[in-house]
Symmetry: C2
Subunit: 312 residues, 2 copies
């Protein structure tokens, strides 16, 4: 096992992502010491009990002292306040990163509080399950997953390379891009689909004529996929939509245009329009299987990232 990449890692927030990072760091010997902070005392105690942190701190400011890597793993809406609190206590030469699923809003909130000499590398691990909290983490969450980085202009390439090494040590694949582009891509592949799934589940819930038990009972029909998406953490997602507002609204607008066109085709009985549309979308599915981001085998490894061994 090679030398640790970081001496002291401070995890601010101890939910699914932070705890999984910690498990992966421990498994790979990537950090010499891991300090954890969460607002909830119970989460701190759980993290110590499970053992994926070495020490718990009672405040975020205390956690970051002497840390060479600080991970902001709190809801996006809380990033600014946390950054303001820890700013004065960050060690010179430290790297601060985040794991929020929107980037521009996080940069706007955090950057003003990062002192000269401290590296800020905004990031976004594209991984997750429907669970939350310190008990939900596991070491392999990031294997074969994309971890997107949006380094700022004038960033230090050595600091970037060091952080990249950590993330690759988790088994993740790294891509860099600018923050606005990240936010549009995510609006398309994640944020708007989530909103749509939430809405469909909400509509099913409202219907008086179809009982809840039937919706649940027959939910293997396609609806089940929507409910899995709609079970994601409400706080995290509220913040995502509030902070990736423009890109989400734009994609939503496109979506409703398309939906109305299909609705019109249905009303008018235009079978050709429907058939052509559905045929086109099948091709995207094939592309995804080929890109290795999914498998047509029965085990999609749901909740676990696809990996060579399991998908065979």
């Amino acid at each position: 096992m090679t030398a640790p990449i970081y001496n002291r890692v401070a995890l601010i927030g101890l939910g699914l992502i932070a705890s999984s990072m910690a498990h992966a760091m421990k498994a790979g010997g990537l950090a010499a010491e891991i300090v954890g902070y969460a607002k909830s005392a119970e989460s701190r105690a759980t993290a110590l009990e499970i053992g994926f942190i070495d020490r718990a701190a009672a405040t975020a400011a205390e956690a970051v002292e002497g840390a060479d890597l600080v991970v902001l793993a709190v809801p996006v809406g809380a990033m600014g306040a946390i950054a303001a609190e820890i700013g004065p206590y960050l060690a010179p030469g430290a790297t601060v990163t985040d794991v929020g699923s929107v980037k521009q809003a996080v940069i706007d909130a955090v950057r003003p509080h990062i002192p000269e000499g401290v590296h800020f590398i905004p990031g976004h691990p594209m991984a997750g399950t429907e669970y939350s909290g310190p008990r939900s983490g596991f070491a392999t969450l990031f294997r074969n997953r994309w971890w997107l980085l949006t380094p700022l202009e004038g960033h230090d390439p050595v600091a970037l390379a060091r952080f990249r090494a950590l993330v690759e040590g988790f088994g993740a694949k790294v891509d860099t891009m600018d923050a606005p582009h990240h936010d549009v891509v995510l609006a398309v592949v994640s944020h708007t689909p989530h909103l749509i799934a939430y809405t469909m589940v909400g509509v099913a819930d409202d219907l008086a004529r179809v009982t809840d038990s039937e919706v649940i009972q027959y939910s293997a029909a396609g609806f089940r996929d929507f409910t899995r998406i709609a079970a994601s953490d409400p706080t995290m997602w509220r913040d995502v939509f509030l902070t990736n507002k423009d890109a989400t609204l734009e994609i939503l607008g496109r979506f409703t245009e398309e939906l109305f066109a299909l609705q019109r085709a249905i009303r008018l009985g235009d079978g050709d329009h429907l058939h052509a549309y559905f045929t086109r979308t099948r091709a995207i599915r094939r592309g995804i299987i080929e890109a290795g981001q999914d498998t047509s085998a029965p085990d999609f490894g749901r909740g676990q990232p696809p990996s060579g061994g399991r998908d065979g």
Copy 2:
């Protein structure tokens, strides 16, 4: 192994559902003889080659001669023409069933052609994968899946019980309801979700600013679930939307109302509205896991029905 339930089963259409029924009948000794018809000569040859039919017929009329069970497994839009063709050749006392995912439209198209003394039991197996054609079938497709029956008024209870025994022999669970109710339930749990998934995938495809490769590359983010739904057979789905028009349009209308309400909350920055909505939908997800229609384990048995042994 008990005696076969039917003497001669005629499969009209040899796609995923028909071929899976045939595999299941062979595995369980549920039918003494299986005759198959498909429009495509290649499908007939494939079915014979694989061996899930004993004999291929060159026409649907020929296939149903002397059959005590006839399964209409063609796209919903083709049901009427097929029924007109086979009507005069159905054996007295035979049972005719279908596997279409809409019921009222099938009943309207088929019923006029069913002679006196022949039993018509419309049905809908709620099972499927993203694949089509005679090579896609397998014996366990229906295990633990719901098979909905919408028997007509004045139906023969013995004929119904006999068909039910066959379906339960496949490992499926049976529920009966009236056709209009079936169609509304399906609009909620399947048809509208599918349309929405198709639309989201189509929107992603259209976007010039986000390259196809990024959409595909980062598609594990939630979008992947949509693409799996959107890879379903275009012909089948075109027919579903054309024939379950009213129920689908009603659910679509409700969906767009809800979506606009959420869109408005995003535009106005109403975090409380969003949080409350997302929290409510999580409960439905829990209900589904409890109802045994899904599992929180990594292996969701995607493409295979959930079964006691695999989900543990």
